[in-house]
């Protein structure tokens, strides 16, 4: 069969990224321009600024990617774009850009769900086999599903309130760590001891998650200690928080292993970059003799290569979008 080259665009949040991916597996070229430093000044992503930078940078990111690949847009078979979920203003820039490319070069347009992109990031250096338990953990999502086949999801459970990444960011902020907080908590926790007694989120024997209570508990604890002029052992508190937060994920994944009999796990989303989470999941998978898919750091965070990988099955099914494609801020895996 003829090789399929997909040019993929990712502007979901604060990274402007374009990639060319061959046959859904090989990254021919990838450019990621991050705005993280600028947003760090404000303690979090400012949607309006993110959107402005996407417009400013997008044609340069395209030029850079084509140069790396030594290709022209004419040489690719389709244009793929991440169109949900994410920051609407940011998604809009990528979507209009991709539509313009699709129009100019008369190439089919493929709309990719960003979350599914994170799962397919594992196809870049590995080969996803089905069925597989899929755990998506990011700033906006905490979802556990069974993926029966390409684009066939069966939701097991999701967060009832905050996403795990959101809890990480809020806890980091209250402990005084700069944005993005996740890596700081991860590092601090490695130095600390689990000495704070925190209440576990309610165990209701479902696959659902809850992180809002845990987050509030820590914010209250820090505020109370501050009022009493007591010192907060940041490393210890980060450790206690992280243990409980990740233990929740482990518990539900183990339940899924036991109840479905599926011995494959794919972890996707920004929080999958967390080293403690990776370690714990590896141990859990070893215990159950399960295969663990987890992308390396470059493909854990937002990047266009994963969008190109996720677009490939849609290309084969000829599931194309027309120029009226509109982005959407909300979505889960099944939509």
């Amino acid at each position: 069969m003829k090789d399929v080259y997909i040019l993929a665009v990712e502007t979901t949040c604060d990274e402007t990224s374009i990639a060319i991916v061959k046959n859904g597996h090989d990254v021919v070229a990838l450019t990621i321009l991050t705005q993280m430093d600028e947003h760090a000044l404000y303690g979090g992503v400012v949607p309006e600024i993110a959107s402005r930078r996407h417009t400013e940078n997008i044609t340069m990111v395209l030029e850079e990617t084509l140069k790396k690949a030594n290709m022209s847009v004419n040489d690719v078979d389709a244009i793929a774009v991440s169109y949900k979920p994410g920051l609407l203003g940011s998604l809009l820039v990528g979507v209009e850009f991709a539509k313009t490319l699709s129009f100019v070069y008369k190439k089919p347009l493929i709309g990719v769900n960003h979350l599914i992109g994170h799962i397919y990031a594992n196809n870049l250096e590995d080969n996803l086999e089905f069925p597989v338990i899929a755990l998506v953990v990011s700033g906006g999502h905490t979802e556990l599903s069974i993926m029966h086949n390409d684009y066939e999801f069966e939701m097991l459970g999701c967060t009832m309130d905050d996403a795990i990444g959101e809890a990480y960011d809020k806890v980091a902020r209250v402990l005084g760590y700069p944005y993005p907080g996740g890596p700081h908590i991860d590092k601090a926790a490695a130095l600390g001891k689990d000495t704070y007694k925190l209440t576990k989120p309610v165990d209701d024997d479902t696959y659902n998650f809850s992180y809002s209570g845990l987050k509030s508990q820590i914010i209250n604890l820090v505020n109370t200690e501050k009022m009493k002029n007591n010192e907060i052992r940041k490393e210890d508190l980060a450790c206690s928080f992280q243990n409980i937060a990740v233990d929740e994920l482990e518990r539900k994944v183990e339940k899924a292993f036991n109840e479905t009999g599926i011995k494959r796990l794919v972890i996707a989303g920004g929080v999958s970059a967390n080293s403690y989470l990776k370690e714990q999941m590896k141990t859990l998978c070893d215990k159950h003799d399960a295969k663990l898919y987890i992308p390396r750091l470059l493909y854990c965070t937002d990047n266009a290569a994963m969008i190109g990988a996720a677009a490939y099955p849609l290309f084969l099914k000829k599931e194309f979008k027309d120029l009226s494609l509109n982005p959407s801020s909300h979505s889960d895996l099944e939509q």
């Binding site: 044609t59 809009l92 820039v93 850009f97």
Partner: protein, 181 residues
């Protein structure tokens, strides 16, 4: 010389062709810019692109500018930019004036002498503007004279597509907060 004119600074989207400075095609819609553009360009060729880079709706301008710069970059079409306050300025018969463009909450203001901008544009909220307008006779209701605008556009240089970007006059929340600190 035929110009594709893209103006999305307000809620409505204007895509037009100017051939010998006459409108040869016009479409208007609020959201679906690309399908409109595709239809408009079905049987039309053009030599250059002119895009309005603001001020106005942040999202509206951004989409028009993103499409315009992508077209210019990929098709290697020369591109020029103009802002809407200058279009208002150029359309007025007088040469010295202050123009104001409302976004509902306030006004973008441009001051011109001899049709030339004399200071950076600024933004006044509605009550500030009301006060300002008592001392200055601000032109807020200007119908655009495209012939005059295009005459002026002939005198300006083409822009590198990478450098075609919206202008932002109004501060956003976080910028206000930073300024106050």
């Amino acid at each position: 010389m035929k110009t594709l004119f893209i103006d999305t600074h307000y809620l409505d989207v204007y895509l037009r062709f100017y051939k010998e400075e006459k409108v040869v095609g016009e479409k208007q819609n609020s959201t679906l810019i690309m399908p409109m553009l595709a239809k408009l360009l079905e049987n039309e060729e053009y030599d250059e692109i002119l895009v309005v880079n603001g001020p106005g709706s942040f999202t509206g301008v951004r989409l028009g500018v993103t499409i315009a710069k992508t077209l210019a970059y990929t098709l290697k079409k020369p591109i020029k930019v103009i802002d809407y306050l200058n279009m208002m300025n150029l359309s007025l018969p007088s040469s010295d004036h202050t123009v104001g463009l409302s976004d509902g909450n306030g006004f973008f203001v441009g001051e011109f002498i001899n049709h030339k901008k004399i200071k950076e544009y600024y933004y006044l909220n509605n009550s500030e503007f009301k006060e300002f307008n008592q001392d200055n006779n601000v032109d807020t209701d200007v119908s655009i004279d495209m012939e005059k605008v295009l005459e002026y556009v002939k005198t300006i240089d083409y822009t590198n597509p990478h450098a075609v970007n919206p202008i932002y006059i109004k501060l956003i929340g976080v910028e206000y907060a930073k300024k106050d600190n």
